[in-house]
Symmetry: C2
Subunit: 158 residues, 2 copies
DNA sequence: CGATGCGTGTTATAATGTATCGTTGCTTCT
DNA sequence: AGAAGCAACGATACATTATAACACGCATCG
């Protein structure tokens, strides 16, 4: 997002039927987990799914209202925290951004490939989780959450 | 740093002779790299080495002046950026904090074990770098920087 | 000597994230 | 139905984290 000025139209996010389907699945998943998919939570997830790429909290805040009005920060931060807890979205620490989970069912650890040129990201399976545990065990640590974020260039940015 | 309220005296950082030695090594390393170890850069590194644990930028800002006066934010952020570029310190994204590099010579990729109870961190060798490259290659990405931060409990915090 | 590059100091401001409090709307119990 | 308990919400204010912009000093190089 800094170095080259290629502009690639990203793969874009979900729209129409696909979007509604994904939201319905999220509804189901919350219901099964005994959690409440409220209006602001659903709206935040919809925005992330539509975007199809990492979004900053304040980008969401600016476009949150269906009527074009901005939301108050706590509204969006609370929704994003909820979505992260449920595994419906992930926070990308190195970008201060959030992205809808692309890996379907179940809460899970995630890892990301991130293009520093165009901002595209790809969620991948965390590699070598057993090696993490081994390294932690060597040092006597008990690990419950691992952040893995690999920065570079996507295929389109060479 | 949130859940349990144990207070463990951390392993603490460097002092006296050890501190001066580490700073001299950093001086040498910059000289060899053709970079300038200026006063604010050296001061920032000294504070990180003394602390021996991750420090927030504004914690450094508050104690930056030898005379007890605070520094201006850009002074410290620039110094931290420099130290990160040289591999003399690392930024920990999930904490918004910085820590002196514990792995001696050469710029290198890093990984961290982080105790969410007491704030202790341990720099470890990044695990499975070949698997990162493989995963990236599968997706067509070319990676140049990987963030790995494992959160949990240190031995002292159970 | 300019001219260029790099680092600094300073001011101001931008971007990101939380604390708190009163209200609302369920669910559960009586 | 009514009351109590709880989770989420909306709003205000505030805290924390980070950068932009510009003037200056001081080296290096033609
Ligand atoms: Zn996911
Ligand atoms: Zn790209
Ligand atoms: Zn290191
Ligand atoms: Zn600990």
């Amino acid at each position: 997002m800094a170095e080259c000025e290629h502009v690639h139209e990203g793969p874009a996010g979900l729209t129409g039927r696909d979007l509604n389907h994904a939201l319905s699945q999220a509804d189901d998943r919350c219901a099964r987990a005994g959690e409440r998919m409220t209006q602001p939570r659903r709206r935040a997830l919809a925005l992330l799914l539509e975007a199809g790429r990492p979004m900053k909290a304040y980008d969401l805040i600016d476009i949150f209202g269906e009527d074009g009005r901005a939301a108050k920060p706590p509204t969006v931060y609370r929704a994003l925290d909820f979505l992260s807890r449920q595994g419906l979205a992930h926070r990308i620490e190195s970008l201060n951004a959030y992205v809808a989970c692309e890996m379907g069912e179940r809460r899970h650890a995630a890892a990301f490939l991130i293009c520093d040129c165009c901002g595209a990201t790809e969620e991948i399976e965390p590699f070598a989780p057993e090696r993490v545990q081994a390294a932690a065990a060597d040092a006597g640590y008990l690990i419950d959450r691992v952040t893995i974020e690999a920065h570079g260039r996507c295929p389109a940015c060479l």
